[in-house]
Symmetry: C2
Subunit: 264 residues, 2 copies
DNA sequence: TAGATTGTTAATCGATTAACAATC
DNA sequence: TAGATTGTTAATCGATTAACAATC
């Protein structure tokens, strides 16, 4: 949501309905489990033994009805009149998310962003292990980043195979992303986190999630514009639906304020 | 969001129903407009004059029914039997997203990630202008990053005011994020893009979107685990709902494979 | 006119929410 | 028992999708 940020293909790789297998968990719920887990981990570090749905929801930034509904998909892990046992819930959510096992990941493209991710602390603490850093540029390979040597992308297939890597992170320039993706998938990777601003095409059974700074900013700009518009009279004053022919020659005011009033 | 990335508070700051004002556009549609815009820009660069909903949808990674429905919220910008004029649609979507005006942003926290964002090309090309880079560390202030001097956070309020900054990007450590957020908001910022793994509390009227690497990876791990489980018999073999009392003492196997079979 | 493709309708599906019975 | 809080139900809402009439 990206979401926001969102799976490009195969949000539900098992196919069929959204909750096909056994106690299937809705996508929206899965996306919130990490939020709950983070809040619970903070409580755990403060040695808080139990927490109510109301308190935990506040800490996670959701409402309590949603939280209880989400937890109901996992099972009945609370105690009526008491709340949830923090440690127990940390474990159950971790298990559900697959974080009780070790996930080797490779990061491909060690520019500024790859560098930042390699140094990101949240990796190791949550069951993810950086198996290798890869780059195609000989000027970069051999450098040590975050304690790891940057290896050449020539070694990609070997590393993915030997280290049983199933998750790849792509931080290359957009032009290289699809090719890197293809090679990762061919080598056995089945989940891709894509930071390159490109749509990746992948075969069935491969999950792609993307993180796109530019998209997030554009969504903010949209709402920001709305706010600014609300300050004026009423922005929806029937902008004439200009006939296409009249605009084909130029694309209209680029950075200017042709049709609309300034929003600042 | 995203999630996916997702607005924490006020996904619809105008309040009321999801589509309150005039020709209000659903959140899901707004989140896809940047995708269409990117695909259209690529077509524009190749001097493609028109495109059908089918072609454009394929390029953007969505289905064509959804695309046409999305565009219908913007107006009737297509021509039956022909398709959409690329340049005209680029302009209309840009205008709808507020990209025909200039958005000054500040980036607070110039570590690895802030550094990466400052160098990110997608910024400038889409109406966003980095008005300032800020950091609290005197060892970092004064450095030139992406052609801009890193200024001290002491100057935050002055810069936000003078440059009319309404969008702030937070790339600080999690412990500093809320305080930075509070100061940005107090200074006049009304949209925040948060890369720190913290829930930010903001007053009504302020939008927060967050980008969280760790959450994206955890969602991938969940699906990855499912895939692995599908290879075995049937993973849903009634894991006994362990009584809370039995687990309170320890949190169960941490990185181990206590309850579950290995998924690799 | 015939072919192509949009814009819209209506059905379906998933997500959210409030309310409350169950029960600790 | 009385108070507190979960887990679930049912209503509502938003998003997706296929189909097709409108129309270029």
């Amino acid at each position: 949501m990206a979401t926001g940020r969102s799976t490009q293909h195969n949000p539900n790789p098992a196919g069929g309905t959204r909750r096909s297998r056994g106690r299937g968990i809705p996508d929206a719920t899965v996306a919130r489990l990490p939020l709950y887990l983070r809040a619970l981990t903070a409580l755990s570090e403060r040695s808080v033994p139990t927490v109510s749905s109301e308190e935990l929801a506040a800490a996670a930034g959701v409402n309590s009805a949603k939280l209880r509904k989400d937890f109901s998909y996992l099972g009945s892990y609370g105690t009526r009149g008491v709340g949830y046992d923090v440690e127990y819930l940390v474990y159950q959510i971790s298990r559900e998310l697959g974080l009780t096992q070790d996930w080797p990941v490779v990061i491909v493209g060690i520019g500024n962003l790859g560098h930042a991710l390699a140094n990101y602390g949240g990796f190791a603490s949550r069951g993810f292990r950086v198996a290798a850093l890869l780059d195609a540029d000989p000027a970069i390979t051999g450098n040590v980043v975050a304690g790891l040597p940057v290896r050449h992308t020539d070694e990609m297939e070997e590393i993915v195979r030997d280290e049983r890597v199933s998750i790849g992170v792509i931080t290359t320039p957009p032009g290289a992303a699809q090719q890197v993706c293809d090679r990762l998938v061919a080598a056995g990777v089945t989940s891709i986190l894509n930071f390159a601003p490109t749509v990746l095409n992948v075969p069935d059974g491969v999950d792609v999630r993307k993180v796109d700074l530019s998209i997030e900013l554009q969504i903010l700009a949209f709402h920001e514009q709305r706010k600014a518009g609300d300050d004026l009279a009423d922005e929806d004053g029937e902008v004439p639906s200009a006939p296409a022919a009249a605009v084909v020659s130029g694309r209209g005011p680029e950075q200017g304020h042709g049709y609309e009033e300034a929003a600042g």
